[in-house]
């Protein structure tokens, strides 16, 4: 929801599908998602960091790593407490859930 809202607000070309895509043609999205994958799946972090540095620079690398840490925290807060989406949040995300295939995980 925040990705779509911020992309709309800034006119960014960041594609919401890159959140789950195996690969992307956009070098910025590719660098950032590869960094996340390397950090969380024990991949080649040295190479992933080098690519972020080349494509986006040092400040971006630091922020990307701090956001990774932040959401490692927030994911555990949500999953560790059984926090689900509110009805309003579910309704607001209907099109994104459908686009990304998340509705397949909903148990009625």
């Amino acid at each position: 929801m925040m990705l779509r809202a911020s992309s709309d607000a800034t006119g960014s070309a960041t594609d919401i599908h890159d959140v789950i895509a195996d690969d992307t043609d956009d070098p910025v999205s590719s660098a950032l998602t590869s960094l996340v994958d390397a950090a969380l799946k024990h991949g080649d972090l040295v190479s992933a960091r080098r690519t972020v540095l080349e494509v986006l620079g040092p400040e971006a690398l630091v922020t990307a790593c701090s956001v990774i840490g932040n959401f490692e925290k927030m994911n555990r807060m949500a999953d560790g407490t059984g926090l689900g989406l509110s009805d309003d949040q579910m309704a607001g995300l209907a099109d994104i859930r459908s686009e990304l295939g998340f509705d397949a995980f909903i148990v009625e």
């Binding site: 990705l3 960041t14 919401i16 998602t33 969380l40 972090l45 927030m74 999953d79 059984g82």
Partner: protein, 228 residues
């Protein structure tokens, strides 16, 4: 001084180090329900969980609840707390309501569980940052003596999560049963990501544009299979 990031491959913004030092002090201090010694032990267990064989076997199993055994524990914490810390650290996406009910039904109060969660998630944020940036993990802090505050907020009840909460349905309030953990969460959140004031600003930039930050956030949640 802690968090000077001498081995960082690039300069780190000062506000990140300042927030992590405050988080370290909070972690090492007496909590609301747990002693400083217990809080530090929980932090030690989060690090031990990364190389725990039982956690690895459970992660690989179709159901983590089908694999029994003993964790590679490094502290004297009770086994139910060790199990909770390791599961929260290594496989949080497959925790269930029945697991939580069994844990608390066996005697661990929800207040204590939420405080354990606060420590585990603080470690996830700080160690996650260090690992992603290729730095050595910061040595754990020395404990600060004192007594837990033992204050439960009035009106906390089970509404939008397994645990009792106060306030509206939001991840910000999910640890509201232990307000000190919410304060610590928001402090770290502001440096690692965005402050509450910045959350509504879709054009904010911190080395990354807001959409780029959200792409990273969404990708982390996708890999962790967290659908909140």
């Amino acid at each position: 001084m802690a968090f000077e990031f001498a081995d960082a491959p690039v300069p780190v913004r000062p506000d990140i180090g300042e927030a992590q030092r405050r988080a370290w002090r909070h972690l090492a201090s007496p909590g609301t329900w747990l002693t400083a010694c217990q809080r530090r032990a929980i932090a030690e267990e989060t690090r031990a969980a990364r190389s725990c064989q039982l956690c690895s076997d459970r992660k690989a199993a179709l159901s983590p609840y089908s694999v029994t055994g003993s964790h590679d524990s490094v502290t004297e914490l009770p086994s139910d707390i060790v199990d909770a810390v390791h599961r929260l650290t290594t496989d949080p996406g497959r925790l269930t309501r029945s697991w939580y009910d069994e844990l608390t039904g066996a005697g661990l109060p929800p207040t204590h569980y939420v405080e354990i969660l606060g420590v585990v998630t603080t470690m996830a944020a700080i160690d996650g940052f260090h690992l992603a940036l290729g730095m050595e993990l910061e040595p754990l802090p020395e404990i600060i003596e004192g007594e837990p505050a033992r204050i439960r907020p009035e009106g906390a009840e089970v509404t939008f999560a397994w645990v009792p909460t106060t306030g509206r349905h939001s991840v910000v309030n999910v640890m509201s049963l232990v307000p000190a953990e919410v304060e610590a969460f928001l402090d770290l959140h502001g440096a690692h990501y965005l402050s509450i004031a910045e959350m509504g600003d879709m054009t904010v930039e911190k080395g990354l544009t807001r959409p780029q930050m959200e792409l990273v956030a969404g990708r982390v949640s996708s890999v962790n299979e967290c659908f909140y």
